[in-house]
């Protein structure tokens, strides 16, 4: 008999903290862990794919752009917090990069804009993916500390209807 998904009316929030080395080799492991958590709490296949992609993009940015140059033997880390609440799943990624460009959160406006044939580079899609696939995305640059990206995906209530965010309408 399959184990049922955690009920949305879970009484207490559940929180995981992951600290991982700032190396891109960990990306696939982080993706799989967070998708596993999201699956356990009842997100459907479409949402799992969107969560996987958004998490991957936020983590990629943290691992690549948010990691200061290491001295030999020095360990640079990225911190990830996963918070499961009745209404939503929140994933927070914190890095320690302090020299990221000022327009780091700008991203491409639309796919057509991104795919214009005269572009000199094809960056900015990751930000667009995070904004398009999650219900809420917050970027916070903390001077001399690093960057924190918060991703939120609303859960469905027992009636199958999505909980609403307080600050913005839920994406269809």
């Amino acid at each position: 008999m399959p184990i049922p998904a955690l009920e949305p009316n879970l009484a207490d929030p559940l929180q995981f903290e992951i600290t991982c080395p700032a190396e891109v080799q960990v990306l696939s492991m982080v993706r799989r862990f967070i998708v596993g958590v999201a699956e356990e709490v009842g997100f459907d296949e479409d949402d799992l794919l969107k969560i996987e992609m958004a998490v991957d993009e936020a983590c990629s940015n943290a691992l690549i752009h948010g990691s200061p140059k290491k001295e030999p033997g020095e360990r640079v880390e990225v911190d990830i917090t996963i918070l499961i609440e009745p209404q939503m799943l929140t994933i927070q990624i914190r890095d320690h990069g302090t020299d990221r460009p000022v327009d780091q959160f700008k991203g491409a406006g639309t796919i057509l804009e991104y795919a214009a044939p005269d572009r000199s580079d094809y960056g900015g899609l990751g930000i667009l993916i995070m904004k398009q696939f999650m219900d809420e995305v917050e970027f916070l640059a903390i001077p001399e500390t690093g960057t924190m990206v918060t991703l939120r995906k609303m859960r469905k209530g027992a009636d199958g209807v999505l909980y609403q965010t307080e600050s913005s309408p839920v994406n269809p």
Partner: protein, 118 residues
């Protein structure tokens, strides 16, 4: 999960014909460096017609899509073309959700892909 791998099948007739690139595993910020290096090597051999077989690819991130866009741009500047062949269901869904099924030429049949490339 299947590990990342790239297999290139170069035609005996040389660079006038299409080169086929089979990618398996996942194409993300970690593995894209290896993909870009392989594509650069094929471009140096003057190939301008690429079939990118994604039937065994089970995940692609913005880094992978960006690398495909760069390859497409480089090929079109050389009057070349690229066809994506048989993307796996998950990769097709990612491309479709983002609107790239309208940007990339995607075919399910190898002969049709060859025909498009001429």
């Amino acid at each position: 999960m299947k590990p990342f791998a790239i297999e290139c099948i170069e035609p005996e007739q040389g660079a006038a014909r299409a080169v086929e690139v089979r990618i398996s595993g996942f194409l993300d910020a970690h593995t894209v460096v290896s993909f870009e290096k392989t594509m650069d090597e094929l471009l140096e051999k003057q190939y301008v017609k690429f079939i990118i077989d994604l039937s065994a690819l089970n995940y692609i991130s913005s880094a992978g899509i960006g690398a495909l866009m760069v390859l497409l741009q480089q090929l079109r500047r050389r009057q070349g073309e690229m066809v994506i062949l048989q993307p796996s269901a998950k990769v097709f869904k990612i491309l479709d959700l983002l609107g790239f099924t309208k940007i990339f030429l995607i075919k399910q049949d190898r002969d049709e892909a060859m025909h498009v490339l001429g």
